[in-house]
Amino acid sequence: MRIALVGQPNCGKSTIFNSVAGYKAITSNFPGKTVTYTVSKMTFQGKTSEIVDLPGTYSLTSFDLAELEARKYLLREKIDVVINVIDASLLGRGLELTLQLLELNLPTVICLNMIDEAEGKGIIIEDSELSRILGVPVVRTIALKGQGLDQLFKTVLEMGSNPIFGKHLTFSKDVEQEIQELKEQLEDNNFSKKFNVPLRFLAIKLLENDQYFIGEVRKKNFEFIKMVKAGQQKLEECRARTSDVVISSERHHLSMDIYETVVTITKPRMELKSYLDNIFMHPVLGYISLIAILYLFFNFVFYLGNLLEEPLLGFFYQFLPLIEEKLGHNLLLFNIVSGIIQGIAGGIAIVLPYLFPFLLGLAFLEDVGYLPRIAFLMDTFLHRIGLHGKAIIPLILGYGCTVPAVMATRILESERDRLIASILTTMIPCAARITIIFGLVAFYLGPKAALFVYILNIIVVAISGKILSQMMPEITPGMIMEIPSYHIPSPKVLLAKVWLRMKEFIVIAWPLLIIGSIALSLLKYWKLEYFINELISPVTLLLGLPIAVGVTLIFGILRKELSMIMLVQALGVTDISLVMNAAQIMTFTIFVLFYVPCAATIAVLIREIGGEKTVFTVLFTFLIALILATATRLVYYVFL
């Protein structure tokens, strides 16, 4: 049996999914974080089924890529039961999607999620009445706390063996007549064989001027478009509005009618969180609190990471002299063993101490619901570089990992905005590069220098954005974004999310680190690194870096952490400050920060923006890295 979770963005689909499938889909409190669907097996009461978490979609008329993905899945795949998740506190709006889903004639269970949130707002829902009107079962849940989920899946299983199809609610008489007429014309033209959607659904979508279905119909029967246009025109004449507005208003009124029938409004609970936005979204206080929050975040990562890095490094490096004593310096075996130790040490002592607090902090901000607030505050600045507020979300996620961040650009509506945001995202220091900034700059040059690197990075990203949007002049469509309520994150979910993201590092990056370290040891042993370093020497000489650094830059393309960890090994010291001065440390960091996205990012870029533009991105970032790093060298030379 296949179960699909469908609902509007941020209503808790992924939370329900994770509660039965294990933590597999990243959840956050901002609309549109699920950009692609996740499938998993689940077992409930001894029965195994397949469950699919679809991206949120406001309606079945789709705009952005993530919504399109959800709709495509719904229309093409065979689904046994649909769970229509509704944020109970936004029932009126959620029903607009429900009405469309019921038109699809799929067995449906309504899940009224966040019932606690709704009651806090004073919205009391009579669910039996709702179930009677829609003709499908309704289950109340609080997914974040796990409440009601047993009942939900019990109902879903029953539905699977004994399907119930909901009612088609009817619009006003005149509109209904047009729908009926077009539906009959569709029947007469054999459209039921050409589309695997119910004809009533198709008729409504065509009258609504849905571009996808119009296009499909045109492909199959060009002449038929005339009938569609005639139908649209009749609607427009009798309502004096465009046909899409007629249909959407009808649906809106129908939803509001149902809403008013099933809801009793009581006095809302006074909650602290309803006042938070008076500060966080205030035209002045909002920016002050944003700076304060980011400052605290930075310090939290720095102090926790610093506290752990030194003793951990010390612990691992005490073994090296011992092994050297045992095995002798020149043996191949010694080189391999020391490579392994350095790889393990790099992972545990340099990467993890900063990665963990960083991901924890990011997860907290995401789940609380702060990111959309940042988008609101930053909209005006992003407009100046030719984007709009929502673009800040992939950029912030970029501080975690560039790969999901590039995918998150799908929340942007225009292709050009997605392209610019993708390129800028690759320039944001991801967690791997953060370990370089912290482990190298903050560790040797102090936290102020690290903060400077961040600020410089933001300025460079802004200027690059400006340059790119000048290269591709087009007016950005402007921001339309829902600002969700604040949620208190559950510690369990936070840790599960941090673990899911760290697992990526531990499973993929760490083995690579160890292999990389061994490879470098072997290159050194056979004196091959010399050739690579010679090859890179134009760059290293230009930047005034030790020649031995060259090989780490190559490895850095594989994984960004490698540059930093292998630096220790390539230079043959544990204390980098012995062989590199402040200027060199800074120049190296600035270069590594911007140059060429890592291999995984390049792969996702090719998928999202295409090969040609990926090549452009690689060259663009390399050029910026070269210019900035050369400038850093000069600034140190002249002024410091």
Partner: protein, 76 residues
């Protein structure tokens, strides 16, 4: 009096009269619950041509200034 939403003072409650612009913006706004005839409250207006924050049907929505200037509303 009909004005555009971008010019409305924060704190005022207004009725949506009409939405200018193409199919895209109309449908996006309608998905978020903004339809002609609905009442909404302007909660905040960003500085330096920043976005407008409105609350409608118990939900908060941020609209870029360009979008807001295409939403025509009735004020007393």
């Amino acid at each position: 009096m009909i004005v555009n939403l971008a010019d409305v003072k924060p704190g005022s409650k207004v009725k949506v009269a009409r939405i200018r612009g193409g199919l895209g913006i109309r449908q996006r706004l309608s998905c978020l619950g903004i339809h002609p005839g609905d009442f909404l409250r302007v909660q905040a207006s960003g500085i330096m041509q920043g976005p407008i924050l409105v609350s409608i049907h118990g939900n908060k929505i941020a609209l870029g200034r360009g979008v807001a200037s295409n939403v025509l509303v009735e004020v007393d």
